[in-house]
């Protein structure tokens, strides 16, 4: 006799990645590290922003970078010149970093350095406005970049990325005189989807707006540290966590 049964699962498709992201975040919290996930389309200026950020902040904050790139270490090499640890992750054909890949970078950091001495880990995601938005890596904040040359309509066309962002940098502000683009319209399109996002227009070429970005970074690091101190001093050693499988 053919009898069909039903089993209710109700499991999120990305639950394995979510579990990995929570695991990474537990590491960051134990070590007292704040983590940002930087996302944008290719060429929006993530690496240039990181260069300026490392140059300006690495005296006061101990920073490491996890650098996601499909095939090369070109960006990682650029950033190593600033004297900070850069863990390069080649994703191969994958269009985004996931929690497991970032865990690999964290493992490397824990093997080669004392992770608890770091204040900030900056994850540079693969250039892509779609996929990275759905895959958490354990970050405390998502930072999206949109360059002026990409046009006003991108927040409408790629809404998930802009909705997920905690901070949005409008980059390449120095090109404004040469482009027929309306910054106010970009902002209006973003605010339709994410009214509370911190929006910072910058130019890494002229330095305009960068102080505002640096302040945001510092305030996030400070508030994360306060939150963690208030929350709980974890008892388990980070090494014990690293050894446990996802």
């Amino acid at each position: 006799m053919h009898q069909t049964f039903d089993a209710a699962l109700g499991i999120n498709l990305l639950h394995a990645n979510q579990r990995g992201a929570d695991h990474n975040r537990a590491h960051f919290d134990q070590w007292g590290i704040t983590c940002f996930n930087l996302m944008s389309s290719p060429g929006a200026g993530k690496t240039a922003l990181l260069e300026k950020t490392l140059a300006a902040l690495s005296q006061d904050l101990k920073i490491a970078v996890i650098e996601g790139d499909m095939t090369t270490e070109l960006d990682a090499e650029r950033l190593r010149q600033y004297g900070v640890p850069v863990m390069a992750i080649n994703t191969g054909r994958a269009c985004h970093l996931d929690a497991k890949m970032v865990a690999g970078g964290l493992h490397q950091l824990a093997q080669e350095y004392v992770p608890a001495e770091f204040d900030l880990v900056l994850v540079e995601n693969v250039g892509n406005l779609v996929c990275p938005a759905e895959f958490e890596v354990g970050e405390h904040a998502k930072v999206a970049l949109l360059s002026l040359t990409e046009g006003e309509d991108k927040p409408l066309k790629y809404p998930i990325m802009f909705q997920e962002a905690d901070c949005l940098l409008i980059t390449k502000l120095d090109l404004a005189p040469y482009l027929d683009i309306d910054l106010a319209r970009i902002e209006a399109n973003v605010r339709q989807i994410n009214p509370d996002v911190t929006l910072i227009p910058v130019s890494t070429k002229t330095g305009e707006g960068l102080d505002c970005w640096f302040s945001w970074v510092r305030s996030q690091v400070a508030s994360q540290t306060t939150l963690r101190l208030e929350a709980r001093p974890l008892e388990a050693k980070p090494d014990a966590l690293i050894a446990s499988p996802h």
Binding site: T4, F5, L13, L14, E134, F135, K157, I160, Q192
Partner: protein, 128 residues
């Protein structure tokens, strides 16, 4: 194409359930709910599933995807509306931002239909 990764996650999750049963059932259908306000394309997911299920315990299984519309709730107007994805997300009445998403972000393995009246497929591939 991240749908490939998602399909792999889907198959591994269902495999966990399958392994936990006392008598391995034959899974006839997997029901997914996919919101329209996600980065997932159901056609790509179907394609990935058809490729990846071959030679596994899911070789005969059908993937049924229910798409869920994007519905937001406007608090000033006290009413729901369906934003036009790609065009306009703010409330069409008062232009308040889309803040309260009531549906459309789902990405869920909802339920399985299975039967236990046959032996498990011998084609199960150990690499899954």
């Amino acid at each position: 194409m991240h749908e490939t990764d998602m399909t792999r996650a889907l198959i591994l999750t269902v495999k966990d359930w399958w392994d936990a049963q006392t008598e391995p059932p034959r899974i006839e259908r997997i029901h997914l709910t996919v919101g329209k306000f996600t980065c997932v394309e159901p056609v790509s997911l179907q394609f990935s599933f058809e490729v990846q299920r071959q030679g596994t315990f899911l070789a005969e299984t059908e993937l049924v995807i229910e798409e869920i519309p994007l519905v937001a709730f406007c608090h000033p107007c006290q009413q729901s509306y369906e934003p036009e994805i790609g065009l306009h997300y703010a409330c069409p009445q008062c232009q308040s931002p889309m803040e309260d998403i009531r549906s459309g972000r789902e990405l869920k393995i909802d339920r399985l239909e299975y039967c236990t009246d046959s032996t498990p497929s011998q084609a199960y591939a150990p690499n899954i």
